[in-house]
Point group: C2
Chain length 320, copies 2
């Protein structure tokens, strides 16, 4: 067998979300050669989804590398299990039950397929190509509609005995606190630090402060983006929404630090557009809740990667 030229090898990275799926052909240097997307929700079954994806992607594979240099497929998806290659009971997907997604993809594309959840994929992307390059211990928090996490320890993702480790958004930060709209748990981090949680906080706080600019918007328009706009205009209530969010997030991060003592915590996702409005109180309350041996050691930083690219790159990294 002739030696393969590694520089020619390509992987397909896929980031499956409830609404959209993004994919990219990635080479060993972490360059995305082609990318595209399709609507996840248009496909009633995973098989139909795989067929549609194949139609789109196979010409690109032929163009860039041919089947011989196509190493495999990496997938980040909600509730994806690294060990079994299945997507299990994902609340945001139309495909119900336990879906043998890796098997479906391998049968369609003729290459191995590895999977992990979306936040883990983003963490891998950061480790290989982003702000966590060279780090062996860090935590990635994705603050979007929900709160996800990927935890790297000793240079490896923590999957746990069943592949489901790293559900930090569902840890309880305020026992008996705000009820989660979907899980029903009381006081989870996601209920406060997600975009959804920020919207709830904003609606509560604007009702308490009638002079807040937040009251200039109709109820259905209140979201984290609007809160950010009001905060930049100096509205104290909007600023307090982020301060309170940062406090809850910082308290949670302190607990996570005392678990795995990471070199850095990377924040990622739509919520970080609030910048210092959220970063400063998060850092303050994280430090305040740490034992002295952990203080002023953990880097709290925003992700360096474009959000879509991180997940595609991380998913492709599963292949190698």
């Amino acid at each position: 067998m002739a030696l393969l030229d590694l520089s020619k090898q390509v992987a397909l990275g896929i980031d499956i979300g409830g609404t959209n799926t993004k994919y990219g052909l990635v080479n060993h240097r972490g360059e995305i050669l082609e990318k595209g997307s399709l609507k996840t929700e248009d496909y009633p079954t995973a098989e139909e989804f795989a067929d549609a994806l194949y139609e789109k992607v196979s010409p690109l594979i032929m163009k860039h590398c041919g089947q011989r240099h196509f190493d495999g497929i990496g997938v980040g998806a909600p509730n994806a299990n690294f060990y079994t290659g299945t997507i299990e009971q994902a609340p945001n997907l139309r495909w119900k039950g336990v879906i043998p997604f890796a098997k479906i993809m391998t049968e369609k594309f003729g290459v191995p397929c590895k999977m992990t959840n979306d936040a883990n994929a983003a963490a891998l992307g950061e480790m290989m190509f982003g702000a966590a390059r060279g780090m062996k211990d860090f935590i990635m928090m994705t603050l979007g509609t929900g709160v996800g996490s990927g935890i790297v320890s000793n240079g490896r993702l923590i999957y746990g005995h069943d592949g489901f480790a790293g559900e930090l958004g569902h840890t309880i930060v305020k026992p008996g606190g705000r009820k989660h709209w979907s899980t029903g748990s009381e006081g989870s981090l996601e209920a406060y630090a997600s975009a959804t949680g920020i919207t709830i906080t904003a609606k509560k706080m604007r009702a308490e402060f009638p002079t807040s600019m937040l009251n200039d918007y109709p109820e259905e328009e209140i979201n984290s983006k609007v809160v950010y706009e009001c905060a930049t205009k100096g509205d104290p209530t909007a600023i307090e929404v982020f301060r309170y969010t940062g406090q809850k997030l910082g308290e949670a991060l302190a607990n996570f630090v005392m678990f795995s003592s990471p070199e850095a915590i990377l924040l990622f996702g739509g919520v970080i557009k609030a910048g210092d409005f959220i970063l400063k109180p998060t850092k303050l309350h994280m430090e305040r809740n740490l034992l002295p041996i952990f203080r002023n050691k953990v880097k709290l930083v925003f992700s360096e990667l474009d959000e879509a690219d991180a997940a595609i790159l991380g998913a492709s990294a599963l292949v190698w």
Copy 2:
């Protein structure tokens, strides 16, 4: 060089506590050939401690294996750092500052010395010789005067980037809750689930319930052992002390499960003598706070090893 007969190789396992130090000579099968102890607090410096230990142990080494078959020393100690071999700012030891303990031991005994904190040593002991045999993902909680923890993920202890990971006793379980007597933090797990925490809870609760048997004891005699005795006699207040403790512990464990998804959580230390009085509420509140995908999967069990032996065995396991 002649091949070494592995069955003859011996390691010295040492468990350093604030008051007492226990040590044992251990072979590859996890058999403790000799054990003994000395008073840690009798020695103002680590050098004097090493001298005294050497006087006691070197005749035993000569008797069992000779220097040629003596592989090394493993130490479990409070605030011991696996990476640097130092004991750093341990609040319960007379030796202040940063002590290069591994170096002191190696110079004295002429063999390599590895260190980790006491709870990590106990976790290693359980993994090699106890209830966690064959497990790659578990958490060990030591519930004694304080609350310590050792976390194993992917078959390896989690040390974190600086060697200080696994301080789960200091995670906050009730923000703004009970102030910790030493760290000053508010609402940490140790403030509730340690023997010290249980004593505080008992003193509070007996004041609220004048008919409780706990009121038959003078203030200074109240401790977790007395609470256990009253609970076995059916005193509702004593039972409530353990129920409340178990609730706080169970809520904390749920968060830990969603972090690393362990196959089991092992409980260890003096507090577990309370048996089902503490185990049942702990399990109830752990399960109640877990996402459905984690429920009824995590084994919550008591350690199988004798408390002193676990730490000695675990420390010796650092050598191999």
